[in-house]
Symmetry: C2
Subunit: 433 residues, 2 copies
């Protein structure tokens, strides 16, 4: 049954804690298999990719080639309806425009002591983008991962996507073409992650791997982390809607269902200060559920993880929202702006009745790769910064080191790091060591 | 023997690859032990901390208390020489001034379609700082981790530090006091990490855990990642010096040794375009090694991982420097600025003869927590941003959703996410679903 909590109930804190600590994903113990797959690819390269793709994806890469040709990508694009391509174009344009604003500034300055300090941002040389196959293969996610990488200036953006029985969603390839992905390989699973991290004859290694994937992909990313960078490990999606009685229960219901239809582990939560609105929305959810093509998935998600919480006021809901730290937070109220300003933990906030979360999934322009599973308490959505790194810069001269060097010598001595202290002291003395 | 490579040799590429792929740390298999420790602390809280600290740190926390009192911290500070406290004060002031410049900007704007977009940065609510005990207990690292957290606005900054046989370095406590650390607990190892992640009666949980530690601490951080945020997993330290014959070989030698004295796994590499300078520096290293109190550690590091590479020109060294992607890069040449501008991968660059790396360790002001083990290819040093997170903001009205909504409906349909498409469509229709 969908959770129903009343914030004024005596056992509310206990129930709310239980809701927060619900495990939504069964941990799959795939780590040993993944370790073996990675070792195989690291040792045998393309041959391992060919063998593993035969086994898992029922495709003979020795026949098809591992890399997709430009002609294949163009042919796939030609199969996509014009209207869909136009929508992809609008999405691409808006995502690029938003992310252009995230380019960071370099800095260089001299302080009062004459020490020059600063930093310089540079793009990663190469990035691998994992794209899932099958029903979780979303062209919008290709744009959301690839566009910030290209805005950052990544020169080599490599996409891997499984081709079960030879099939890749043409929309995914059309999105890759729009986002200026440089190389596309028809390989998936832990073997694709291993190829990106260790490199094979065909797939050169990258500096960082991003993109969503199943338990095998996630386990492989965790394993290669350190050798290459990785993005966050995405969990199942979630939405929290804060709404008062001015909201349209039918609209809120479909927003809750848009999250629930993703995945049986997705979670949709409504917090409202109006019990009648809560009832009306619950009823609307039940009615609309019946009309959805993905009603089985959405029903399971809503029954098991869905929740409606009634509070005294929406202001009272803010501390709860901060504890939930939702990936997506929709606020529908005349006070939406003021309430949004008070929220600390959320991946993204969607303000007002005319901002359904799905707008942000596709064409809003901001990134839809957002922190899940309460990680908005400590992390942010994907951005241009995830595809750049900062090198700090320090420069002293004979005068400025005399201003600050003695303190460095004192601290080096205090930490019993003699060579540290001496490396500064010899410059103060202006003589050899 | 220290590596010696000649970039003009026929087998150079092979030797350079061997140097790059040298394993500097034996992987310690502590994962099972760490899993049990974490489960114990999650289940038994403070009692587990007391039992484990008896076993590992030979201290009875039931007697001493888990938390340090303000009086204990003040008493420790009183034992630190005034000169050292003054050096800590200068370091604190300079680190704070530099990091103040890293505070990010919020953004809010309306685009041509009338869609409002933006983001808002906020500080993490709480952060745990792990400080190692024994010889790896560095007050400078306390400042480098704590100051950016406080500049970011973290309200609750919690430090954990083991107290083997009851002892904590008073300098570490003096640094914590200066950096406005809010709570200090005398507990270390995987049990301290577990307490920060899961919380106990005494230690409330935090949102993120930062700071260096041994193999147990690193394994524990990897395990709790997801439940809380973690910083990078630090590997052994390294320096790359690019120097031409204008450099002072004695100065370069002591800089190489300042890295080598950290740890037997530390790595010091010199690249120069002058074979005679290479020889002179090698000889200076040997001479100075003998004079160091930590000569055994430094000798082992220099013999096993130290390297001298001779190239045709320093410009030729840049691609090598990018492949090494050193944590610390020192450039000593009249062209130092121009060479630095060409480097892509480095944690920090120290420019010119008067900027020994140790200046950056203590009082330069920039952060000394930097990416190790070639991870400067994809990551950055610690900054204020590591203690903040970004919430994106999206707001449409009835007019702007009409401008961009149809494309969202098209993409929702194309991805077969019917509720996604419908949640936008109902707002376009201006009616219920």
């Amino acid at each position: 049954m969908t959770w129903r909590l009343d914030a004024s109930a005596a056992d509310f804190e206990e129930s709310f804690k239980a809701l927060l600590s619900t495990k939504r994903e069964a941990a799959q113990d795939v780590d040993d298999t993944v370790r073996d797959i990675i070792a195989d690819v690291a040792a045998r390269g393309d041959e391992a990719l060919i063998d593993l793709s035969k086994k898992f994806d029922h495709i003979d890469l020795a026949q098809t080639g591992i890399a997709l040709t430009k002609a294949e990508i163009d042919a796939a694009e030609a199969r996509v309806p014009k209207e869909t391509l136009a929508a992809l174009d609008l999405a691409h344009e808006r995502i690029a425009a938003f992310h252009e604003r995230q380019r960071p500034q370099d800095l260089r300055f001299a302080d009062d002591a004459g020490v020059e300090l600063g930093w310089r941002w540079s793009a990663l040389e190469s990035v691998g983008l994992y794209v899932p196959g099958g029903t979780a293969s979303y062209p919008s996610s290709v744009l959301m991962n690839a566009v910030p990488a290209k805005v950052a200036g990544v020169e080599r953006l490599v996409m891997v996507v499984p081709a079960p029985h030879g099939v890749i969603d043409p929309l995914v390839l059309a999105a890759a073409k729009r986002a200026h992905v440089d190389e596309v390989y028809r390989v998936g699973g832990a073997q694709a992650v291993a190829a990106l991290a260790y490199g094979t004859k065909t797939i050169h290694p990258v500096a960082k791997i991003v993109g969503p994937g199943n338990a095998w992909v996630a386990a492989a990313k965790r394993r290669v982390f350190g050798l290459v960078g990785i993005d966050m490990i995405a969990g199942p999606s979630e939405i929290l809607v804060l709404a008062d009685k001015t909201a349209n229960p039918e609209w809120v219901a479909i927003d809750l269902l848009a999250q629930a239809e993703h995945d049986e582990s997705a979670q949709s939560i409504l917090i409202t200060d109006d019990a009648a609105f809560a009832d009306a929305t619950a009823a609307a959810v039940e009615r609309q559920l019946e009309t959805l093509s993905r009603r089985e998935i959405a029903t399971r998600s809503w029954r098991e993880f869905g929740a409606i919480i009634v509070t005294k006021s929406l202001a009272d809901s803010i501390p709860l929202a901060d504890r939930i730290a939702a990936e997506h937070l929709e606020i529908v109220s005349e006070d939406a702006e003021a309430l949004a300003a008070k929220v600390r933990n959320a991946g993204a906030i969607f303000i007002g009745a005319y901002t359904p979360e799905a707008i942000g999934d596709y064409v809003g322009g901001s990134n839809h790769v957002l922190p899940t599973a309460r990680s908005a308490r400590f992390s942010s959505g994907l951005s241009v910064l995830d595809f750049m790194k900062r090198t700090s810069i320090l420069k002293c001269d004979a005068s400025s080191i005399r201003a600050i060097g003695p303190a460095a010598v004192a601290l080096g001595d205090a930490e019993r790091l003699q060579a540290h202290a001496r490396s500064v002291a010899v410059r103060l003395d202006q003589r050899g060591a």
